[in-house]
Amino acid sequence: MKHLRAGLAIGTALTAMIALSSCASNEPAATSSNGGSSSGAASLNGTLNGVGSSAQSNAQTAWAKGFQTANSSVTVNYDPQGSGAGRTAFEGGGADFAGSDSALPAAELSGDFKLCKAGTKGIDIPVYVSPIAIVYNLDGVKSLNLDASVLAKIFTGKIKKWNDSAIADLNKGTTLPSTAITPVYRSDKSGTSANFTDYMHQAAPSDWTAEAADLFPTGIGSGAAKGSGIVAAVTGGKGTIGYVDDSSVGSLSVAKIKVGDSYVAPSAEVASKSAETSPLDTSRTGNDVVVKINRTTTDSAEYPITLVSYLIACQQYQDSSRANLVKAYAEYVTSTDGQQAAADTAKSAPMTGTLLSKAQAAAASIK
């Protein structure tokens, strides 16, 4: 009997050890908290797959690099297939998180999230802020001022020549040629188009009557695929004007946008300020942080054509090791280090102040 009992005890101890060690390989954060170790992040391992916005692509590369440097046994993959594809993949369980230029639409929010614990939903965490530049190519004109109304009239074809009196009124002292204007728009669906049309719709509702849309309304001007296509088309044409993410402007001339009584050029500072001071969408609950950029701001320290892009994750994952990985990654992305890394690589505008702390709180709430 004694022998048997000793054997049992040894057996139980062995099983416990195996169980513990296997636990350690599967659920790193859980063991580190059990073991009382403070370096929780250092023991993370596994693979994290994200799919989504191509605007976030460069930033995600920087974040993956920074996160993997701090956690050498974690691999982060980000596939910039597009925001819609990212959300679809995440909702269907094909991606651990999504990158999206628009927050979860109501229709998708009411649907199922395969990876999330039953009854819980996905949350939007703002991670990427970037100004959208209005670029143009016009011989001899190095500086150009525009406002929402003139932009809307140009993109609806109501203003056809560069020396139109509406443009001349905003640019006193500049000689404008009589070149015809060719607006260049994105021919693919894009968050850039959504933000640009939202700006025109809110700031000049009588000139741009259509609602904000991912797909730019066609009929006027020339369409080009992707941001690089816009840059190529604006650069190659004469009298062209288009809109691209500020990071891909290159050597093109950038127009200043009327804010209040002054004209503001896109930059990281004004975009950060705009994102921080804009109100949050009050219809969102809990840790779902959605920014409604103030398109009609009159503060010259802000820039109204600013894009906020989100990381979409589960509030509560079914799988705790996945939750730990996504949480750690989201915390890194919303840290000042992460924001700075994206600013250095992708020339995005780092989040600041209350918006940053809201995003950090949302990241920390992932379970």
Binding site: E108, S187, K189, A210, T218, G221, A233
Partner: protein, 315 residues
């Protein structure tokens, strides 16, 4: 005693025979299965699209009331771009193939043939980039000249797209992509012309061009048609080069030089799919099904043409 004639026996089936015929049968079946699988997938994914609400159809909200209103311009654009491409590609390809097979010295012919084949190996994204950065800016002055010189000709009416991102440019890029296919096939067929026929024509006093008209072209006609259909297939399905070069609209328009061009099914799917969700994905799939049907119809038609020609003009 040795002269008894053996009765006709069935050839014994060796292992090699059986394996080969089995492998060939399997190969044939796999192709059929793959085609069936694609068709079933497309149909299954497309079904929800036929009853799609106007708001589910890509485009400005409510722009297209029904699925058919959305797909008709796309189908038109696909066929229009491909036909324009063939209008340029076929004469060029036949000329190149004849030059290689009947005019060029053998050494030059071999080198030229290899170079033409190389054109087929260039990825379409490279053609797209070339179209945007090199070819578009190159042809723009010509398009402007056309629009200014023949303003009365409806197809050429302006304003010309400032980057020449119009359907005519796309058709020319497609033509360059299709030429190697038509050329390679035509060349091989022209080389098959019976030597006796050619020599007989020459012996009757025909010039080289007359010889080609009398022997090579009639002999190769069915081959040219089938080569062109293969080229048409590529032009119909070409995605990336069109998506990159064209300034697209979902419209039916015959203007060749403007910024508002009918886009193709494949290019439209490529541009809209990444950001599509819900029923709009099904709508895009259904446009793919329409492309599948168009391609199928074109192939069937070409088969019929080849069959009739081959039966009527046996050589």
């Amino acid at each position: 005693m040795t002269a008894t004639i053996a009765p006709v026996v069935k050839a014994p089936k060796r292992a090699g025979d059986r394996i080969f015929s089995g492998a060939a049968l399997a190969g044939g079946l796999v192709i059929l299965l793959a085609l069936a699988a694609v068709a079933v997938f497309l149909v299954a994914e497309s079904l929800p699209a036929f009853g799609a609400k106007a708001t589910d159809i890509p485009g400005t909200a409510g722009q297209f009331p029904t699925f058919w209103a959305y797909v008709a311009p796309l189908a038109f654009g696909t066929v229009w771009a491909a036909v324009l491409a063939l209008v340029f590609a076929i004469p060029f390809s036949i000329a190149i193939a004849l030059f290689i097979s009947h005019y060029a010295p053998r050494r030059i012919a071999r080198g030229l043939g290899a170079i033409i084949d190389l054109l087929a190996a260039i990825p379409s994204v490279v053609y797209g980039a070339w179209g945007i950065f090199v070819f578009g800016p190159f042809v723009r002055p010509f398009w402007e000249f056309l629009a200014e010189t023949f303003p009365w000709f409806p197809l050429f009416s302006g304003p010309v797209d400032p980057n020449a991102r119009s359907i005519l440019t796309v058709a020319l890029v497609l033509a360059v992509m299709v030429i190697p296919i038509i050329t390679a096939l035509s060349r091989e067929i022209f080389l098959q012309t019976p030597r006796l026929n050619e020599e007989a024509a020459l012996a009757l006093g025909a010039t080289r061009w007359e010889m080609i008209r009398m022997t090579v072209l009639p002999f190769g006609r069915a081959g040219i048609v089938s080569a062109s259909m293969l080229g048409l297939g590529r032009a119909l399905g070409e995605t990336l080069a069109v998506a990159m070069v064209l300034s697209p609209n979902v419209i039916i328009s015959f203007f060749l030089l403007r910024s508002q061009n009918p886009t193709t099914v494949a290019a439209n799917i490529a541009l809209q799919f990444p950001e599509a969700f819900g029923t709009s994905v099904n709508v895009l799939m259904a446009t793919g099904l329409v492309l599948f049907v168009i391609t199928f119809a074109v192939n069937a038609a070409s088969r019929a043409v080849i069959g009739r020609r081959a039966a009527g003009k046996g050589i």
